[in-house]
């Protein structure tokens, strides 16, 4: 089985191109997460896979069969909408049974499948309720249950957890992870804004930006080796600190002059031709450590201290134009606003991007 294949998929609304040619190969059973900034086309792509939007160009195949013109109900997909999209006038049971009733399944079969889905999602108690009598988390579970009952080959989620509160979000996320395990043969495609969801659930993450793919890869690969500035800033929260720099010596290890004048070196090889070029130097907030030694990366005045208990966020303003540099230090610190602090970082965890934003390491 070949799973789902997108070949140069394009979408335009009238003259506006929204998706600019997406190539993607999804294996059966894979859990794929689409992330990207608002408006980059995640939902559009998902809806094209579902068959809810027409495909303007390119080919889409599921299990080797071209499905561009196959109606949604014949694609073997199920979808969980961002806004639940429950049928407000039907009970939970009817909501889940609707698809099967339409398909003309037998009463027993419907009953069996709904009950088993309800079991998995702990909804058995609520089968007779209307959606409006359910809490947000329960509604979301019904939406998922409805999708499960369809027994799909491909499972689509569009920001399914975005309307839930923190605790529910964690709980439901774990349920989805379990579901993925139980339905090992089912391909899942998941759109989210949420870092944690993306990192924890995905087999592979697809980072989209303005209608094209920036990088595809397993979560940790994206975290450790972002292919470009965009991905680097997008994955991880708070975002990676980027400091403009100039390459002062190239080679197996590269020396840089950071804005502010400090000289640093990173263990990333660069070609000699890069010498003298401007680059972007990146370090994640959680990779920064406080040091009192002389071997620091940079030094700054703390403008905001955010103590979260578990970690403390320090904001250092003025070093880079416009944005503060953020450091995330574990535990509770005794740093106050106005303190001058020096930071250092593990050399292996530093990033370097060329003027066009491409990572020097990614090769």
């Amino acid at each position: 089985m070949t799973g789902l294949v997108l070949k140069d998929i394009r979408k335009s609304y009238g003259a506006v191109d929204v998706i600019h040619g997406i190539d993607l190969d999804i294996k059966q059973g894979e859990f794929i997460v689409f992330v990207g900034p608002s408006g980059c086309g995640k939902s559009t792509l998902l809806r094209m896979i579902a068959g809810l939007e027409e495909i303007t160009g390119g080919d889409m195949t599921i299990d080797g069969e071209r499905v561009n013109d196959v109606p949604p109900s014949k694609r073997g997909i199920a979808m969980v909408f961002q806004s639940y999209a429950l049928y407000p006038h039907m009970t939970v049971f009817d909501n889940m049974a609707f698809g099967m009733r339409i398909a003309g399944e037998s009463k027993e079969e419907i009953d069996r499948r709904v009950r088993s889905a309800a079991d998995i999602l702990q909804l058995t108690k609520y089968l007779d309720r209307l959606p409006k009598a359910l809490s947000g988390g329960q509604r979301q579970r019904v939406a998922i249950g409805r999708a499960i009952c369809r027994n799909p080959k491909v499972f689509l989620f569009d920001e399914p957890l975005s309307n839930l509160d923190a605790a529910l979000r964690v709980a439901t996320r774990i349920e989805i992870a379990k579901l993925n395990e139980q339905m090992a043969d089912t391909t899942m495609i998941y759109v989210t804004h949420d870092q944690v969801e993306a990192m924890t659930l995905a087999d592979r993450i697809v980072v989209l930006s303005a209608g094209h793919i920036e990088q595809v890869g397993p979560p940790l690969e994206l975290y450790e080796r972002p292919a470009n500035l965009f991905v680097a800033r997008f994955i991880g929260s708070p975002a990676m600190n980027i400091i403009p720099a100039k390459i002062t010596s190239a080679g197996a290890s590269t020396a840089l002059e950071l804005t502010g004048g400090r000289i640093s070196s990173v263990d990333i090889p660069t070609a000699a031709s890069e010498l003298g070029k401007t680059a972007s130097f990146g370090v994640r907030p959680e990779d920064l450590q406080i040091t009192t030694g002389e071997d620091f990366l940079f030094e700054g005045t703390v403008s905001i201290v955010e103590a979260l208990g578990e970690v403390t966020l320090l904001y250092i303003e003025g070093l880079v134009q416009g944005e503060p540099i953020i450091a995330k230090i574990p535990g509770i610190l005794d740093v106050k606003r106005g303190d001058r602090v020096r930071f250092t970082a593990d050399k292996a965890k530093l990033h370097l991007f060329d003027a066009a934003g491409k990572s020097y390491r990614a090769s």
């Binding site: 949604p72 109900s73 999209a85 429950l86 049928y87 006038h89 609707f98 698809g99 339409i102």
Partner: protein
């Protein structure tokens, strides 16, 4: 020219008077119990007083008009229904007794029930269909306008239009009524539609349905647009076809609006008389209550007692609708 000036002057004057009332009274209220710019206990006390008075200021003109133009006549009708034809002599329940024994009245009640069953249902149904279908096609707005048009045609016009449709010419001569022309084209014999007892009721109802569908359509179309698109897409993915989506997903979700439209048209049907008056004047067993009332009220000098008693019956018929609305209003109020 002079007339035009006068017209403009009166129009502006009338509207202005109305505006002045609302602004003036509120200005006075705020002057009497000032709160703006003040703080402290006095300000909040004044605010509470104004808050208690203001709803009544807002409603005063409406309540006044409703009382004078509708409530007062209702009581007058009830009073008249117990009086004789000139409204001067008390006659007890004899008007109602007459009514029960009157064949025409019973015929009207029967016909009215037919109307109540058919017209609101079909108007709403067609309005719904049109509203739903036109949302999906590019020329939907044109279609809507055309279907709305009968509402804009004056009653005189509507009557002419349908006389043209139902016109009957003897068999063999050229039919100028389209209905008969169609019948003849299919080899049938032409009929004088208005004279076929029982069925002629339906030919009359068609006219009201024709007019009211536009009303239902305008309101239901707004409601349909309020349905979350996602529920429909979810149904598409669930494999539902157009009909299933419409009847199982969309219609249940706008049930409330359908009920409002239904109510409004039902009430209209209870009042309808001009169509019957113009087309048959109740002949060939097409009489309805409102026209019967009109008949007794004004024909041949008028019998106010009997006319009023029929009006009272019409008003009694609406009580179930009223009760239903009270229930809805209170339920809604709890939600507020």
């Amino acid at each position: 020219m002079q007339q035009l000036l006068f017209a403009i002057f009166t129009m502006v004057g009338g509207v202005l008077a109305c505006v002045v009332y609302f602004f003036g009274t509120n200005f006075l209220l705020d002057k009497m119990f000032p709160s703006k710019g003040l703080t402290g206990a006095q300000a909040s006390k004044n605010l509470r007083i104004t808050n208690a008075i203001r709803p009544w200021l807002f409603m005063a003109p409406a309540l006044f008009a409703l009382t004078v133009y509708l409530v007062y006549p209702v009581f007058e009708s009830v009073r008249l229904s117990f009086h004789n034809r000139s409204g001067q002599q008390f006659v007890g329940f004899s008007n109602f007794a007459w009514m029960i024994n009157d064949g025409e009245f019973r015929q009207s009640i029967f016909n009215n029930f037919l109307w109540l069953l058919v017209v609101p249902a079909l108007s709403t149904f067609f309005g719904l269909i049109v509203a739903a279908l036109t949302d999906r096609i590019w020329w939907g707005n044109i279609a809507k306008t055309l279907i709305f048009m009968p509402m804009a045609i004056s009653f005189v016009g509507a009557a002419v239009i349908w006389k043209f449709v139902y016109d009957y010419r003897a068999e063999g001569s050229e039919q100028i009524g389209i209905l008969n022309a169609v019948v003849v084209a299919f080899g049938g014999t032409p009929e004088a539609w208005m004279t076929i007892p029982f069925w002629n009721n339906f030919f009359l109802m068609v006219i009201l349905i024709w007019i009211q569908t536009g009303f239902a359509m305008v309101i239901l179309s707004a409601a349909l647009r309020g349905i979350p698109e996602e529920t429909i897409e979810a149904a598409v993915i669930d494999g539902a076809n157009g009909f299933q989506i419409f009847f199982k997903i969309m219609v249940p979700q706008i049930w409330g609006t359908i009920a409002v439209v239904w109510t409004t048209i039902t009430i209209l049907v209870l009042k309808v008389f001009d169509i019957v008056l113009a087309m048959t004047n109740g002949q060939w067993q097409t009489q309805v209550l409102a026209n019967l009332m009109f008949d007794w009220m004004f024909r041949g000098g008028g019998d106010f007692g009997r006319g009023a008693s029929i009006a009272v019956v019409i008003m009694i018929l609406v009580i179930p609708i009223m009760v239903w609305n009270i229930r809805n209003a209170t339920k809604e109020m709890e939600g507020h």
